[in-house]
Amino acid sequence: MSTPAKRRLMRDFKRIQLDAPSGVSASPVPDNVMYWNAVIIGPADTPFEDGTFRLAMQFDEQYPNKPPLVKFLSTMFHPNVYATGELCLDILQNRWSPTYDVSSILTSIQSLLNDPNISSPANVEAANLYKDHRSQYVKRVRETVENSWNEDDSDEDEDGEDEEDDDE
């Protein structure tokens, strides 16, 4: 059944297919436009360069008047990402606007990668290393980048099947 939220999400999908911002991609899982899988490529000239970080986005019928739940599926080492993969990002919380869409959410997360907000850390260790021991911070981030490649090879097919099973 088509609802306002689903119609909006189909527009988001059309937009990201026609005009994807560089380094991000996303699509709804088969048969469920309310649940999306996304990938953000770590921006060049940052410690996150070449990482293929996977995310899940869960929308509800209040979208776009309420933000989606967004979390990283890939293991991250970032001051604003919790161990669960959930993000601390103002536009996904109290500064949400219904003019945002999937493309602009992912672009914001992409720019958060190399521009963390240190004042309210979700990962205190990452925030401290970022502030005081930058080379160690970079090393930890590079580990997650390498992990992201391995995850991609081993998990992706399994995940795809799981989700299809859930929907049927």
Partner: protein, 126 residues
């Protein structure tokens, strides 16, 4: 050759008179189309013009946003306080009244919060 016109169908086109944006920023449907809750464009799904800022939305789209307390009564595009330009004959009277009521209740919430200083003020623009 003689032509007898037996009947005819008038066809007209119309557009909302808007200056800059052609899409509603909330539903991303062109202004000349209808919001996702309506079936037909036009008078039953009118555009609402911002008074303080120049941003326009389908009436039903801005209503749903302002119904959220998290909207704080702000324009989704520029985060200034949203005030609708009310034009005579545009929009169902009860929906326009609802819009004004929402604007009002956000204003009251803002005034109350100024004492407690907990409310995010609109000068905090991106």
């Amino acid at each position: 050759m003689k032509v007898n016109i037996k009947h005819w169908h008038g066809v007209a086109t119309w557009h909302w008179q808007t200056q800059n944006d052609e899409l509603c920023g909330i539903c991303r449907v062109p202004f000349d189309g209808h919001c996702p809750s309506c079936r037909y464009p036009g008078d039953t799904c009118p555009l609402i013009l911002g008074k303080g800022c120049s941003h326009n939305f389908h009436l039903h789209c801005i209503l749903k946003w302002l119904e959220q307390s998290s909207s704080k009564g702000l324009c989704p595009m520029c985060r200034q306080i949203f005030t609708a330009t009310v034009l005579e004959g545009v929009g169902a009277p009860d929906e326009i009244a609802q819009l004004q009521e929402l604007e009002n209740s956000h204003r009251v919430a803002r005034e109350q919060a100024e004492v407690g200083d907990a409310y995010e003020l609109p000068n905090d623009v991106l």
